[in-house]
Symmetry: C2
Subunit: 203 residues, 2 copies
DNA sequence: GTCTATACTAGGATAGAC
DNA sequence: GTCTATCCTAGTATAGAC
């Protein structure tokens, strides 16, 4: 029996999201096409529309899944922030490294998760995932600023702007001359985050 | 006489590049299309191909023009780096702010100017423009590191990764909740650059 | 040097068969 | 719930008229 005839998905919807994430990782958000996703999932070009009404809806689903993965990675990275003996500066640095790796590999990060165009649909799942995602690094930042919420938000913004920049510039090939790997970019992002954190502690 | 019949460009090529930059600024690099550029320049869809053999060539020309503009803006921002009495930390901060403004407004920055896909064509103009663009901030960084070239490159990378991140995250609408303007993002980028510079001076 | 016209490709989305 | 077939839109690029 042929490949396609054999294809009985228990969960085509999830498989489509996986293919979409892989396609975005390879070619970027702009290159996401429902037709190509269908091809990679080995279903017909019309099949995805039974699960997603539009390309946009598929993109929202992919961003939501990715946001949840990112949250999980953050939680795994700094699970003990706030407990005595933990090092919040190290945790924030580790979060920045995680974010750079995530964004460089996925081809998107907070830019898509919080993109106005996607959130405008009042998509509750993505809104919830977006709300949750920055909690772990914010907790680390709050430890660093001694509970000052405004300063903590500022620190997180700084650290993650830098981490986002490293990821996107690495992805564009800017550091390719130096044969820098994505891990080098992540290490640089972590070092930058630690410098920024220490500057807040000792103004 | 009709609009189009009246259109006699002294320099259609330059006008096409201008339209391309405006289109990218509005809708992003991915949305650049020769057809739309022709429409905006009020020429036929075939006309651009007399000046650019492909969409890619038009993109290279736009990136080259933008790179030269950015260099000029850098030079205007910190013209006195190295002279006695100048403040290289302030100059680096100002460069970061300029870069954030430039990138947020144009929809691209170093990512496109140094993009491997565009430079692969051995396009000499773009290569030259790319080589020149980072010179002013590098001079400021060299003043800060006391002539240590490696540390200066590192500092510039850090400062501009952060500036790039602020620009792209601002462009994605991430800070829209807070009603932050692009000038706020640029000010944040400058502050971050100054913190990173001071951390190098007092390790 | 620009215009019109056209060949070709690709994707978004829908309808109806099974 | 998936497939096939189709419509429509949009873009890249070329050819030949003027």
């Amino acid at each position: 029996m042929s490949k396609r005839a054999a294809y009985h998905h228990g969960d085509l919807k999830a498989a489509l999201v996986e293919s979409a994430l892989a396609l975005i990782a390879e070619r970027g958000v702009a290159a996401l096409s429902v037709a190509e996703v269908a091809r990679r999932t080995e279903v017909s070009s019309g099949a995805p529309y039974r699960h997603f009404p539009s390309r946009q809806a598929l993109l929202v689903a992919a961003a939501t899944t990715a946001a949840r993965n990112l949250t999980a990675r953050f939680e795994a990275t700094c699970p003990w922030t706030g407990l005595p003996g933990s090092d919040p500066v190290a945790n924030l640095g580790a979060s920045a490294a995680v974010y750079t790796l995530f964004t460089a590999e996925h081809g998107f990060g907070l830019d898509l998760i919080f993109a106005a165009e996607l959130r405008g649909d009042s998509d509750e799942d993505l809104l919830d995932a977006g709300r949750a995602v920055m909690e772990p690094p914010l907790q680390a930042a709050l430890s660093i600023t001694g509970g000052d919420a405004k300063a903590a938000l500022n620190l997180v913004e700084r650290a993650f702007a830098a981490a986002h920049g490293y990821a996107t510039l690495w992805r564009s090939g800017l550091y390719a001359d130096r044969q820098a790997t994505v891990d080098d970019a992540a290490a640089d992002a972590a070092a930058t985050a630690r410098i920024l954190a220490r500057a807040i502690q000792n103004p």
